[in-house]
Symmetry: C2
């Protein structure tokens, strides 16, 4: 596995592979890798000849009171996981390569971020689209893989890639869960064992909502109240619960069969950790 | 010369050339081509093996009360000029290829547009950076050429390309002038013969300012007042006159030798036409 800390070298290596007729799959991450990331690497390897993983804790996607400084890092452990997963190039760019001095250019979606996490984390998705656009322009992969746990991020990046006419295919990876159902997240590290147990309420609330829909419940308000109750009863603090159209992300009031698909998402605090999860309620 | 109205075909043709080891120079335009554009095509041909010209009147860079609907068009004349200039591919994308339905992604510089034309035309440079980023992502040229008459645009696009880590070299082309000094512009078409004569005051004002600086004048206020007077005396209406640092675009009050280079720009209305021009006052 090549480890590269220099943007020009990373670009040159990817360009070399492409000149040889090989396709390149890209998994952008913020590191502190877990089984969810590893599953994305496997997906990238199935979709392309060479796999590039980047680790970059992107300052512009954190709010001023968020956990940029304390975001967990483990470069050695990450490199070892990438090597085991058969990654070809691990790219660890310095901040100054991604945000050169005087950088002032941002890439922004104007609609999809006006929902869900975007409302709770102003500027977050602007930071995400900006950094991913830069990495896409730098490396020019054929395929990029993003996890479905960050559902809104996936939808925003699909839209950005399409809107900017980038010749990159976005492939969603399924949410990987710990035993008991907790969605894998680097931020699970912030949880005490007790909080980790309590946080199972998030996926439980989503599962209960799906079963209620299957049983005929079609009022979003009823479903949302039950989801919030499940999380609060377990000791969590709800940041939001939402039921929405999975493409437009617009709120649904009634899950009428005629309305098509419905998706649910949760953000909740357990102790210091803000955790998110989501589930398709109906196709 | 290939004429292409389909984005996928244009991308495929450029990619084919690049696979053959040829470099591609790109001249994005809004059409109604004049000798200034033709000089950019010549520059692109010197810098790259193949020359692509796009003609796209970009809706997002016009304000609500500007001349999008009436912007002059002459597809046949333009094609003929491109053919004579040795252009290899003339790309005429439909609006729906560049702004697919539901497009909501914008590329924006946050500092350089806060000067000069950016202050007079809110949203203009956001439209420019968005469309050029799309065309760059679509075609992936090696070199792109922009005219220096649109000086702020050139600086904004240089910054955008660098910030987004795009492997595209921006080459500035010199301003081409009609006899008497009027900078070539598609909008010169809006001028009556008398207004065209009056509009010579723009380049005259800039030339007088440079000569005054050469003669020792170093107060921007004095220079700006003289420039405005020259334009108004000729019957023009000044939109702005400005003296600024040519890289940061920040206003200069005193052109102290220690301050380094200085640049001047004018925007003025003559009849219905808003015309711009600029000149380096001192290196």
């Amino acid at each position: 596995m090549i480890i590269c800390r220099n943007s020009s070298e990373a670009r040159a290596q990817v360009a070399q592979w492409k000149r040889e007729g090989l396709t390149v799959g890209f998994v952008p991450t913020m590191g502190f890798l877990h089984a969810g990331h590893v599953s994305l690497m496997g997906l990238a390897a199935r979709e392309a000849d060479k796999v590039v993983v980047s680790i970059f804790v992107n300052p512009t996607q954190f709010g001023p009171n968020e956990d940029y400084a304390s975001y967990p890092r483990d470069e050695e452990g990450d490199a070892s996981k990438c090597r085991s997963a058969g990654v070809d190039l691990l790219f660890l760019p310095p901040v100054a390569d991604i945000y050169p001095e005087g950088a002032e250019t941002f890439v922004e979606c104007t609609n999809l971020p006006e929902h869900l996490c975007g409302l709770r984390r102003p500027g977050h998705f602007r930071g995400v689209t900006t950094v991913v656009a830069k990495l896409f322009c730098l490396l020019a992969p054929d395929v990029a893989v993003f996890g479905s746990k960050d559902y809104q991020q996936l939808k925003v990046l699909e839209k950005m890639t399409r809107d900017l006419l980038m010749p990159i295919r976005i492939v969603p990876g399924p949410t990987v869960r710990e035993e008991g159902g907790l969605a894998m997240s680097s931020r699970n590290k912030y949880l005490s064992p007790e909080q980790r147990h309590q946080a199972l309420a998030i996926s439980r609330a989503l599962g209960e909502a799906r079963r209620a829909v299957e049983a005929g419940e079609n009022h979003a308000a009823t479903l949302l109240a039950a989801m919030a109750r499940t999380i609060e009863t377990a000791g969590g603090r709800v940041d939001y619960v939402n039921i929405f159209h999975p493409e437009t992300l617009e709120d649904l009031d009634v899950l009428d069969v005629l309305d098509g698909p419905a998706h649910a998402a949760v953000a909740a605090f357990f102790g210091p950790a803000r955790l998110i999860d989501n589930l398709r309620l109906r196709e």
